[in-house]
Amino acid sequence: MVHLTRTAINVAALTTATAGPADGGIATFIGLVRDHHDGREVLRLEYTAFEPMAEVEAERIVQEAEARWPVRIGLRHRLGTLEIGDIAVAVVAVSAHRGPAFDACRHVIEEVKRRVPIWKQESYADGTVGWVDPTAAGRGRENADRADPAAARGYG
């Protein structure tokens, strides 16, 4: 696994591995495990993936961003059991200038959420568990464009 990992994500190491002396700007996004979701108290969660496809799709996203902007991308998504405050995902975009770094970083995390086959099961304080559906009612705005990755990429 390259972009997927079952061990803690080290953002500093990922940044160092991605940046070079010609780079002036680094935009980073870090996704953390929150202690709440839709009003329920979350204790921990479990990420699972369709691993071979997730790895390939993540690499496609990285290569597309590096072709579209003058950037280099570092991407890691954690799998397995995570506790509150753990890093679930990290995207590092390095460039000579800040504009492309920001644009590419944001694009990559949006595409990861939309296209990489990963699922999240939350364990709640009341002892129940639940699969997270970001497209469900009430969560449509932030995740509206998760719908139909095949259409957006022109498959079919």
């Binding site: 996704g31 990420y47 699972t48 993936a49 369709f50 071979p52 496809m53 997730a54 390939v56 799709e57 998504h77 679930a88 995902v89 995390i109 990861v112 959420k113 939309r114 296209r115 990489v116 086959p117 990963i118 699922w119 999240k120 099961q121 699969w131 997270v132 559906d133 970001p134 497209t135 469900a136 998760r146 139909d148 990755p149 095949a150 259409a151 990429r153 498959y155 079919g156």
Partner: protein
């Protein structure tokens, strides 16, 4: 993988909620040829207990590439049904 004349065989992969609905993470299906992702989904939903609770147009991938309902499926293909993604 060989199939009866006029039909094709696909391996259907199931994840997360979809796997829980039918109690397994893969099934083998025979469908009449030619077939699309939609044909595979229809066959699955009507032939496995619990599978009717899978949406009739789920997100899907063929051989690890995102696909649409009208994407063609060939004999031996791996078709994955993907519940709403929740990475990131």
């Amino acid at each position: 993988m060989s199939s009866p004349a006029g039909s094709l065989s696909v391996k259907l992969l199931l994840f997360a909620t979809y796997a829980e609905l039918v109690g397994r993470d893969q099934v083998l299906l025979e469908v009449p040829s030619p077939a699309t992702v939609a044909d595979v989904v229809r066959r699955f939903r009507t032939s496995w207990p619990g599978a009717d609770r899978v949406p009739d147009r789920p997100m899907a991938a063929v051989n690890r590439v995102h696909a649409r309902p009208e994407t063609p499926v060939a004999d031996g293909d791996e078709v994955a049904l993907l519940p709403p993604l929740a990475g990131g």
